[in-house]
């Protein structure tokens, strides 16, 4: 019952923090060699992670880090899920006493806040970034590879997620505009109660249909949705209500305006596009990102942490390069984790509109590691550096034996220590 109510809330209120108790959770029947996983303390995330792991028969130790009740991606961007958070949960959970190994699996999407080298230096644990989606974790563990498969690193935005983000977008748009619309109804009677449901429907439609609508993401897609919705409206109104020409024209225009507005805000609610005003209004890519080739030491981290598959490996030069700038959403994970500061960019603070990560550094630069503690610098090594030679600086050189997974014997495989 409670879970159902919570799920209903999560359909609309994901903008708001929803904390659950941080600490150590046992998943299934973990032993001294079981994997140690880290996640945030957003209620929905923790519940889904545990459900998925139990379903997949994974025995593991789960560290629920104190991220102020914010999900992994947003908390990492907003400075609530950082190297310090990982340091803190490792110390306070007492996980040291439960396992013999020191291998830590971090969510890939925490990479914009968590520094690989920092965790290594300050905790003595060996971190690595797991898959982006918890559903792929079982496959990742079974493979026993130190690196996630490319497809598991990439963030997807499937119809179900788009719908849920659409309802959230709708709820928040309504919340934001309810007061101005109520005031406007002093002059335009009845405008507000017709506009608010319209906004909600347009929000859901713009999110669900984002890949199918023509135009660039942002205002352009918003306008195309608006034109489509206006056309439907004209047909309906002529068939059923016989609206006179002036109100008909007014409503048609109003629908397009609202839709453009929603189209502008929608990328904030997606895991794929960045809320850059110029990008979303003009449809011109603003983000620049470049790897200084001389500094690249071929450690693979930029590629591993990238949720949008921006980088390509050049096997000849044993370097990485930017291959897919269009997909880059300026999350800053690669910049945070590059040990030689080889990645340069013109990012500015914040990837979306909500208070959580827009505040990183206001309009200051993300180029500096502002929120982050000192991390060891790795000296650039000559081109000989690659994964086949001794000079390799690769953070992920070792392979582990794969873990055999079994389905749990009972449904309630979760115990709290």
């Amino acid at each position: 019952m409670w879970n159902f109510l919570k799920d209903v809330w999560h359909l609309f209120g994901r903008l708001f923090p929803f904390p659950t108790k941080p600490g150590l959770r046992r998943i299934g029947d973990p032993d001294r060699s079981s994997p140690v996983l880290v996640t945030c303390n957003y209620e929905l995330t923790v519940r889904k992670v545990i459900q998925t792991l139990v379903r997949d028969g994974v025995d593991a130790w789960l560290l629920v880090a104190p991220t102020k009740g914010i999900n992994v991606w947003c908390a990492a961007g907003g400075g609530h899920f950082t190297t310090d958070t990982v340091v803190s949960i490792l110390k306070t959970s007492g996980i040291d006493n439960h396992v013999d190994h020191r291998r830590l699996i971090l969510p890939q999407l925490s990479a914009r806040g968590v520094n690989f080298w920092g965790v290594k230096e300050h905790t003595g644990w060996k971190p690595r970034f797991g898959p982006a989606d918890i559903k792929d974790l079982a496959a990742y563990l079974r493979a026993g590879k130190s690196r996630t498969e490319r497809e598991h690193r990439r963030v997807k935005f499937v119809v179900k997620d788009r719908f849920v983000m659409g309802t959230n977008l709708g709820f928040n748009t309504v919340l934001l505009l309810i007061l101005p619309l109520l005031i406007s109804s002093i002059w335009l009677t009845g405008l507000w109660w017709k506009t608010l449901p319209l906004l909600f429907v347009l929000s859901v439609a713009s999110s669900v249909g984002v890949f199918w609508l023509p135009g660039k993401v942002g205002v352009q897609k918003g306008v195309s949705l608006g034109v489509l919705a206006a056309a439907i409206f004209v047909v309906l109104s002529q068939t059923f209500w016989q609206l006179p020409p002036w109100p008909l024209l007014g409503w048609t225009g109003w629908i397009v305006v609202l839709s453009a507005y929603v189209g502008y805000d929608m990328p904030s609610w997606s895991p794929l596009w960045r809320q850059d005003p110029k990008e979303l209004v003009l449809g011109v890519k603003q983000t620049q990102i470049e790897i200084i080739q001389e500094k690249c030491i071929n450690c693979h981290l930029c590629d591993i942490v990238c949720p949008s598959d921006v980088f390509r490996h050049d096997p000849e030069a044993k370097k990485y390069e930017v291959a897919n700038l269009d997909a880059c959403q300026a999350c800053g994970a690669c910049i945070e984790n590059c040990p030689t500061e080889a990645i340069v960019s013109n990012f500015r603070g914040g990837t979306c509109a909500c208070p959580t990560c827009a505040i990183i550094d206001g309009v200051g630069a993300l180029k500096r590691k502002t929120q982050k503690r000192e991390v060891p610098t790795v000296e650039p090594v000559p081109a000989a550096a690659n994964c086949d030679t001794e000079a390799c600086q690769c953070a992920l050189e070792d392979r582990e034996p794969g873990i055999e997974l079994q389905t749990p014997e009972n449904e309630n495989g979760i115990r709290f220590p």
């Binding site: 923090p17 108790k21 941080p22 600490g23 303390n41 104190p66 102020k68 009740g69 907003g78 400075g79 950082t82 310090d84 340091v87 803190s88 110390k91 306070t92 959970s93 300050h122 934001l176 507005y261 502008y264 805000d265 904030s268 809320q275 005003p277 603070g349 914040g350 979306c352 509109a353 909500c354 208070p355 827009a358 505040i359 990183i360 550094d361 206001g362 309009v363 590691k369 502002t370 929120q371 982050k372 503690r373 000192e374």
Partner: protein, 212 residues
């Protein structure tokens, strides 16, 4: 549209943080800081400040002649602190790492409005660790949000709590929560409470405890 509004409104700067905290405690926090520096810290003391923020208290304590080490997890805050208290030492460190600073090293451990940002597990750990790094007879000085002691104060506090929490979040992007059963925790951990004072309807408290 909402993006630009939010971005401007929520730009997080250390100066804004100070203003926000001052407003939320109705100026009381400045007076408490002066009291800590003049009464609870003595010249020559080795002081650890947990969550030093912009270093206002660290500056007051160094003026009094104490040797101050301030730790915080926010680099922009530390940058401001280094300027405002040039004689103090500052380090980027989480509160849970204080046990690495050396056993029985400090005369005083001071924390103002920073324990309330810790999770319950962290708080428990930090109190235990703090007892380890204090010299025998050393003092832990904490000024923070705590639940009021009288029922009517608690009811009033609860009424203003929600708008206040929203305001805090807008001003500082911090969600603090009152320290519950703080003195009980101290009693369990080799501490003896020497002094307690309550302000603002009992919701803000200064607690001084001595390591037994």
């Amino acid at each position: 549209m909402s993006t630009l509004v939010y971005m401007k409104m929520l730009e997080q700067t250390p100066a804004k943080y100070d203003r926000g905290m001052r407003l939320l405690t109705l100026g009381r926090i400045d007076r408490i800081k002066r009291e800590i520096a003049s009464i609870w810290v003595e010249p020559g003391n080795d002081v650890l400040e947990i969550g030093c923020g912009t270093g206002t208290l660290a500056a007051l304590m160094t003026e009094r002649g104490a040797h101050v080490l301030g730790i915080d997890v926010s680099e922009p805050m530390l940058a401001v602190a280094r300027e405002s208290a040039p004689r103090a030492e500052f380090r980027h460190m989480t509160a849970t790492e204080i046990d690495q600073l050396g056993a029985e090293r400090f005369d005083r451990i001071v924390a103002t409005l920073s324990f309330s940002e810790l999770s319950e597990g962290e708080l428990e750990y930090v109190i235990g660790a703090s007892a380890g790094i204090l010299k025998p007879g050393g003092k832990l000085v904490v000024a923070d949000e705590m639940p009021a002691s009288r029922w009517w104060q608690r009811s009033v506090a609860r009424l203003v709590r929600w708008p206040l929490a929203a305001l805090t979040f807008l001003l500082t992007q911090n969600t603090t929560h009152a320290l519950r059963r703080f003195e009980e925790r101290l009693d369990r951990t080799r501490y003896r409470v020497l002094h307690r004072e309550r302000y603002l309807l009992g919701t803000l408290a200064l607690v001084v405890a001595e390591k037994a």
